[in-house]
């Protein structure tokens, strides 16, 4: 599954694998560790071939203990290494939260810069792959609320490569959220001449448009692009922004777009309440208040524990739900007292 040289198309999983390989080849300080990352190549095969190519000391199967893995990575970083940690699934990163919040995120600050934490924590996240409970959480809100962390997530194959390289190169910790259901998405990709990613913290306009702005990231990017295409039938020309980095947040790109279109819908798979969309909507409200023609709407997962596979399609924000929200953007100033907050049909 290792991406072959000169290959012109790859899955996101292959691009991630290639990014790890290139980073390890370039910098001997890069070490990969986690559960099953060695001979097996990880349950999603993202670390495929690395132990063989770089040895088990560089790509290490650890005992099964997430706090131990991340805590060890902290110590390795203290000694000058650049650990890349794999958490097997979103919900299995929770045991490492104390290490993450109290050490990984704070160590630079605690030591006045003496001990930076160039640690990348790769977390496969989100649903849509038929996983049983605890295998489909979207936990980005936990990480966003933790100052000191960077939080990035690719929505395309090229970004998967570029962002992971940038994450590993960063001197600050990065939570690298990998959208599980995009692992097998395929796109043109030349590892020899990878598309440049302008570092962490830059959003990108994936589709320019003028009627309204869809703001999204990771697993919901394809949904939004599809919705934008479908919307043309209704006469809407939607702009689609892929945030790529949730922290730092590229407010300028977002605000520039929303000020232009006057309307915004935020789309993500994580539950709405307390999710990343709240922060985004709040910031847009603060910074684009007088440009807004309609309330900023959110299309998100429901505020429920992730449902079983047989029901997940009802939970996940899909094209129809995005279009419904776009339709509610008060295109004809149809607003009258009392129409806000009726409950019916609101996307939270």
């Amino acid at each position: 599954m290792t991406a072959a040289v000169g290959q012109q198309s790859a899955t996101m999983a292959q691009a991630l694998n290639r990014a790890l390989r290139d980073a390890m080849a370039e910098d001997p300080a890069v070490h990969v560790l986690g559960e099953d990352v060695g001979a097996l190549g990880g349950v999603f095969r993202i670390t495929d071939g690395l132990a063989k190519e770089f040895g088990e000391d560089r790509c290490t199967d650890t005992p099964l203990a997430e706090a131990g893995i991340l805590g060890s990575a902290v110590g390795m970083a203290m000694y000058g290494l650049r650990p890349v940690v794999e958490m097997q699934f979103d919900a299995f990163a929770y045991p490492a939260l104390e290490q993450l919040v109290s050490h990984v995120a704070k160590m630079r600050n605690r030591t006045r810069g003496a001990l930076p934490m160039p640690v990348t924590v790769r977390v496969p996240y989100g649903g849509g792959i038929g996983g049983v409970e605890h295998h489909s959480d979207s936990s980005e809100a936990l990480y966003l609320a933790t100052p000191g962390l960077q939080v990035v997530t690719p929505g395309t194959v090229a970004d998967a490569y570029g962002l992971l390289r940038a994450a590993i190169a960063s001197d600050d910790p990065v939570i690298f959220l990998e959208p599980k259901r995009l692992y097998w998405s395929k796109a043109a990709f030349s590892p020899e001449q990878p598309e440049p990613v302008p570092g962490i913290g830059t959003a990108v306009v994936r589709r320019p448009g003028s009627s309204a702005t869809l703001i999204t990231y990771g697993p919901s990017l394809p949904v939004c692009l599809e919705a934008a295409e479908a919307a043309t039938a209704e006469g809407w020309d939607l702009e689609v922004i892929d945030l790529r980095s949730l922290m730092p947040l590229d407010e300028e790109t977002v605000c520039a777009s929303v000020r232009r279109t006057g309307r915004a819908v935020i789309v993500h798979e994580a539950s709405g309440f307390g999710g990343p969309g709240g922060e985004l909507a709040a910031r847009i409200g603060e910074r684009c208040f007088h440009y807004l023609q309609a309330p900023v709407l959110r299309v998100t997962g429901f505020d429920i524990p992730y449902p079983p596979p047989m029901l997940e399609k009802h939970h996940l924000p899909g094209v129809d739900r995005v279009l419904d929200a776009v339709a509610r953007l008060q295109w004809e100033s149809e607003w009258t007292e009392g129409s806000e907050g009726s409950g019916r049909g609101w996307p939270w």
Partner: protein, 403 residues
Amino acid sequence: MTVLEQPGSFRPSSPPPWQPRTDPAPLLPDAEPYRLLGTEAADELDPALLRRLYGQLVRGRRYNAQATALTRQGRLAVYPSSAGQEACQVAAALALEDRDWLFPSYRDTLAAVARGLDPVQALTLLRGDWHTGYDPRETRVAPLCTPLATQLPHAVGLAHAARLKGDEVVALAMVGDGGSSEGDFHEALNFAAVWRAPVVFLLQNNGFAISVPLSKQTAAPSFAHKAVGYGMPGRLVDGNDAPAVHRVLTEAVRRARTGGGPTLVEAITYRVEAHTNADDDKRYRSDAEVAAWRAHDPVALVERELTRRGLLDEDGIAAERQAAEELAADLRERMNREPLLDPMDLFTHVYAEQTSQLRAQAAQLRAELAAAEEAAAGAGAGTAAEHGVAGAGAGTAAEEGAR
């Protein structure tokens, strides 16, 4: 605080006496795993027990085969087979009384089934249906637990609560060699020992945590050696010797029930199939290793013993197999029925009472479903409820490499 005022005058006493809080010797496991089959003690084994174990083992093996087959037909999203580990599964179930609780991990559906749980209910989670297919209070089987080792403190808390209430209830909690590395394992065993909670920890050491072999999981002489560090007995048993596992567990359960506190039992066994249907075990182990363990088969061992003692003949074997086939056929048949899920159930049981936010979301979904139903009706299709279910089938597509 005195800083040595009178250098000549102090007479430091002898150190406050120290003694171990408990005698370590009886807590240490024996040098060899406990075995019954193939030893002289086997002769005294109760024929009825052996027959009971045998019946369960045969059905358990068949159950494992059927469940794995169901993954190939897309009827189960994923199945972590306990093939090769049936002795542990069955013995765990039979060591418990009705009032006791079982705390299974995700691999231990067979233990629940051997306790009497309906296999379809035991497999609800793994087919992609609702997470727990049975009522844990009614069945005294805790939800199958996927986050590793997190079920262990639950077992401790439940057993502790039962003891405080004066009920003589024992909790038996199952964990793997990999799960033993988690902090929750440590915390649970420590709480259990400090509280003298009536818990039995059954660690199935099956050689692997997905692909990770024992040598990368622990450097301990055995997992049973961990027990002394908590002040509880550690027992080592041949996990493929069903009567041996049953005896060690029964003894531990009795000890727990009579106020003797917790026990850690390490059962040495082997996972002869891949981690799950989605796993590729060729990447991390040899066929020869698997074959060696297949030869030490828990089902065959008991069958041989029964045959040797003249307690089982071909008819008897055929009868057990017949029963197993019936179980498999029933399971197959019922698993092939499409389950009826109501999408509106997404919003029930989040809280006792729905929040205003959830009511609004439920209203949204209800409207969507109604619209879809209308559209479908226009196109001559079925009801909204069926719509919810029909679409759901797609959701069960096996995860590549997942779990």
